[in-house]
């Protein structure tokens, strides 16, 4: 509970940011608060009440989310002061912190009502943040689409919850086995609601539009945070539900998701849309981990989520830097990046290679874990489908690796603000850390 309280207080401080004295202390206080929020888990660990359960899952997934937001807060803070030469965007930062509180709740619930509240606490700030570039029409349109579809998804989740309640008389998953048709339908609708957040086909249609429309700093943070939070919530859900209720549907969704995501990503010319579709494909790989749920599932989904978050943050940080240098976020904008800034190119290559699953980057171990899970489950058909999908993924990711080394549209070197440099260096260190010590993340469960 401490972590949620600390984040809420930080969010309120951020809301008042413009009026408070000692503004210079805002960033250190926020980062310190994040560290304290994570330490907060240790003071009450493990805590199980009828509404919350702060266990190992919430601690680890929560830690990843705090790191994601911490890095993004640094870059967003720098973005504001760099671009306008004025105040950092305190309101944006506050909304990011609130959404993170929602994300932490999404992996710390034990009562379905809390899960619903967590999803909404995560989503409502996101609707605003996606539309926070009021002068860009695309941003507003993305916000509108995200809001409408997200609201419908929330309704579907709620209806599922109500049906589950009607079938079992309880808001606790796993307390009562849903034998009835109504209860099973409720379970499926709830999974659909969470899958919407994760961007799983057939609930994916918002993903490319929102990724493209949202301000780029927000896109990367959102992509990483929401994916980790949604899969953390799914891990908690499916573990306590009977496989026969949802197994077949989730398998179908997984196959559709990775195939459609990869196939559509191949054709994209816009970087953000390409990464959106590839993010959909990654959601498909992560769903495979629940078929069926075994003792390695949590480890796999956690490691996959962490490595995906790291890669995505890196990639979007670079896209944001490119946009600042005056280019639009198309694949062609990457041309000549190597000549313009080597450190940024290094971050770009490492992140993309990690997403593509090239050894020894963390994304490779994540994909290996998924493959091993599928192998152990003896779905040989599924294994080959996954394998082919990895192949397609490598194809379009390598296109992205190629472009920075070709002749460029612009020759002037890319200049980073101080906070962006800090963000880039942190991401590089984390990537290399995950290469050298994957055991640290793999052995927690």
């Amino acid at each position: 509970m401490y972590s949620i309280i600390i984040l809420t207080v930080l969010g309120i401080i951020g809301m008042l940011g413009d009026m408070l004295p000692l503004k210079r202390l805002f960033l250190p206080v926020t980062l310190l608060g994040f560290a304290l929020a994570w330490l907060g888990y240790f003071f009450e660990f493990p805590m199980h009440t009828s509404l919350f359960s702060f266990d190992l899952i919430s601690m680890c997934f929560g830690g990843v989310m705090l790191v994601i937001t911490g890095i993004s807060v640094i870059t967003v803070y720098g973005y504001g002061s760099f671009k306008h030469g004025s105040e950092p965007p305190y309101t944006v930062l506050a909304l990011m912190i609130f959404a993170t509180a929602g994300g932490l709740l999404m992996v710390a619930w034990s009562h379905l009502m809390m899960l619903f509240l967590a999803i909404e606490i995560l989503s409502i700030p996101l609707y605003v943040l996606v539309g926070s570039q009021g002068d860009r029409k695309a941003s507003q349109e993305a916000s509108l689409k995200y809001f409408l579809l997200g609201a419908v998804a929330s309704c579907i989740f709620l209806f599922g919850m109500a049906l589950y309640y009607a079938g079992t008389g309880s808001f606790l998953l796993g307390a009562v086995h849903p034998h009835s048709l109504v209860g099973s339908a409720g379970v499926l609708l709830m999974i659909a609601g969470v899958c919407f957040k994760a961007g799983v086909v057939p609930f994916h249609s918002w993903v490319p539009d929102v990724y493209e429309g949202a301000p780029t700093v927000i896109t990367g943070w959102m992509a990483a945070l929401v994916k980790v939070a949604a899969f953390g919530a799914l891990t908690k859900m499916v573990g306590s539900l009977s496989y026969s209720v949802w197994g077949l549907e989730v398998m179908g969704m997984a196959v559709l998701t990775m195939t459609l995501g990869n196939v559509l990503a191949v054709q994209q010319g816009s970087l953000k849309r390409l990464l959106a579709y590839s993010g959909i494909a990654h959601a498909g790989y992560m769903l495979l981990v629940f078929l069926p749920v075994t003792e390695t599932s949590i480890t796999t989904v956690f490691f996959y989520g962490a490595s995906y978050a790291l890669g995505t943050l890196g990639v979007f940080t670079v896209i944001h830097i490119l946009e600042q240098s005056g280019l639009s976020a198309t694949v062609d904008a990457l041309r000549g990046l190597f000549k313009r800034n080597k450190t940024v190119t290094l971050l770009w290559c490492l992140s993309v290679l990690s997403l593509a699953g090239i050894p020894p980057l963390p994304g490779f171990f994540a994909k290996l874990l998924v493959l091993m899970h599928v192998v152990k489950a003896h779905h040989s058909g599924l294994l080959w489908v996954t394998f082919l999908n990895f192949l397609v993924g490598v194809y379009y990711y390598f296109r992205l690796i190629l472009y920075p080394f070709t002749g460029g549209l612009s020759e002037e070197s890319v200049v980073l603000s101080v906070w962006q440099k800090v963000g880039v260096v942190i991401l590089l260190i984390l990537t290399w850390g995950a290469v050298l010590f994957p055991e640290f993340l793999l052995s927690v469960f």
């Binding site: 619903f116 409502i124 507003q140």
Partner: protein, 105 residues
């Protein structure tokens, strides 16, 4: 025997399912943003109806408390939604969703 329990619980289930589906169809069909928002509210009402009905059936208050939470969240959501609509109206003087379909691919 309260008044609620004279009606079989399945009827509530069917009624709320029908209301929910009407709301969902409305979201998919209507092109006016306001109407879409109202359809979303209708879906939420279906959920609340279901929860209240079965709260009586199970003699359990937790569902009624849940309904309060849903109301609050719905209010917050509508607030955000209306802001987004007004921003959009300022830009194009229209709240027709068909005017807002430029992101494709």
């Amino acid at each position: 025997m309260t008044y609620l329990e004279t009606i079989p619980s399945e009827w509530y289930l069917i009624l709320s399912a029908i209301v929910f589906c009407i709301g969902l169809c409305g979201v998919l069909i209507r092109r006016n943003a306001m109407s879409v928002l109202m359809c979303i509210e209708m879906m939420l009402n279906a959920v609340m109806l279901l929860l209240v009905a079965f709260s009586g059936y199970y003699r359990d208050f937790s569902a009624q408390i849940a309904v309060f939470f849903i109301m609050i969240v719905a209010a917050a959501e509508v607030a955000v939604g209306l802001v987004i609509f007004s921003m959009m109206f300022k830009k194009t003087s229209s709240i027709d969703l068909d005017d807002w379909g430029h992101l494709k691919g």
